[in-house]
Symmetry: C2
Subunit: 195 residues, 2 copies
């Protein structure tokens, strides 16, 4: 299982955003939609061995969305259709426990701290520009959880949480890339056994 | 200079598509928008050393769009904004010569044959699932032109044009990926000097 955790610092926690202007009305949920595409979409199907957690920090309480490749349905590659799926999940009342929206998509109240607690049995890799090249790590990344920031990077308290969770700080190379492009690369590095 | 050529077999050649339903009304221009993002977008800017040609086959005559990183402005990472730029270019009267739309975006009538003729001085790499691993090629790919199909793959006459242009058939690995993900990988392979 490959696990991607993406932080959307201003990403809205409510469904009242416009599908006609996702970047302008949703706190950049478009970034997270592209990460979903990068994580799951293959030329002829969906990666079933992937799960994605989106941590939405644009409302109180924070919410977390959980997308499971094993169960996902109705996922198209375009941003708008993906945003519509997220909108549906955000319309549910988010409790402390996971509530299922459409197949493979669940939501709950809570943010990064709760999530890292749940995933504490996994090896955590925190993607940061100045990290060591992921190809040089001695750890097996294939079953790891990858933590990625959005366009705002990572807050000090999030860095601390990652550190406390024993995260290894890695990068995918010399050029600073968007989170979705990093996910494409991580999938490929694992596919090709390059790490 | 890195050059990406993407074929949109049903991609509309006229601007009368809906930004509210790009996949359903434009002959899958959304695929080409994601390729533009993959080719140009960096975390803090635009790749200036990249150019992209989109060959639109969803109308007669075919049209070709040319995006030049050196001059591009107003490019946001989301699909809708990119589609709006393409819509603007398609509203121009396309002649045999390039007509400039917004900065860095031009359009002309004509398809793959004319384009490959223009680019004949470049080494051409045709991305196909059963190609040799691009990392094993002896050719220098950094200044090459990469030809990619959309969800419909490549037509026999296009294969023939590629062959006549001396294209080397390569792939990016064992898993069949969408064109935009291939572009992310090619950019990264060149960035990291992996090929």
């Amino acid at each position: 299982m490959r696990t991607f955790i993406v932080l959307g610092h201003r990403a809205t926690t409510n469904p009242d955003f416009s599908l006609e202007d996702i970047p302008g009305t949703s706190g950049r949920l478009d970034i997270l939609c592209r990460c979903i595409n990068a994580a799951f979409v293959l030329s002829h199907g969906i990666r079933r061995d992937v799960q994605v957690f989106l941590v939405l920090g644009g409302g109180e309480p924070h919410k977390t969305l959980w997308l499971k490749g094993q169960e996902l349905r109705h996922l198209n590659p375009d941003e708008r259709t993906t945003a519509a799926l997220l909108k549906k999940a955000l319309a549910l009342a988010a409790e402390r426990e996971w509530s299922r929206s459409t197949p493979g998509i669940s939501v709950r109240a809570g943010g990064l701290e709760e999530l890292l607690q749940d995933l504490r049995s996994m090896k955590l890799f925190y993607l940061r520009e100045d990290g060591a090249d992921v190809r040089s790590t001695c750890s097996d990344i294939s079953g790891g959880a990858f933590l990625l920031g959005d366009h705002l990077g990572m807050l000090p308290e999030e860095e601390l949480l990652a550190e406390e969770a024993g995260a290894e700080i890695v990068s995918v190379g010399p050029v600073s890339l968007h989170a979705d492009h990093c996910i494409v690369l991580l999938n490929w590095l694992i596919d090709t056994g390059s790490v």
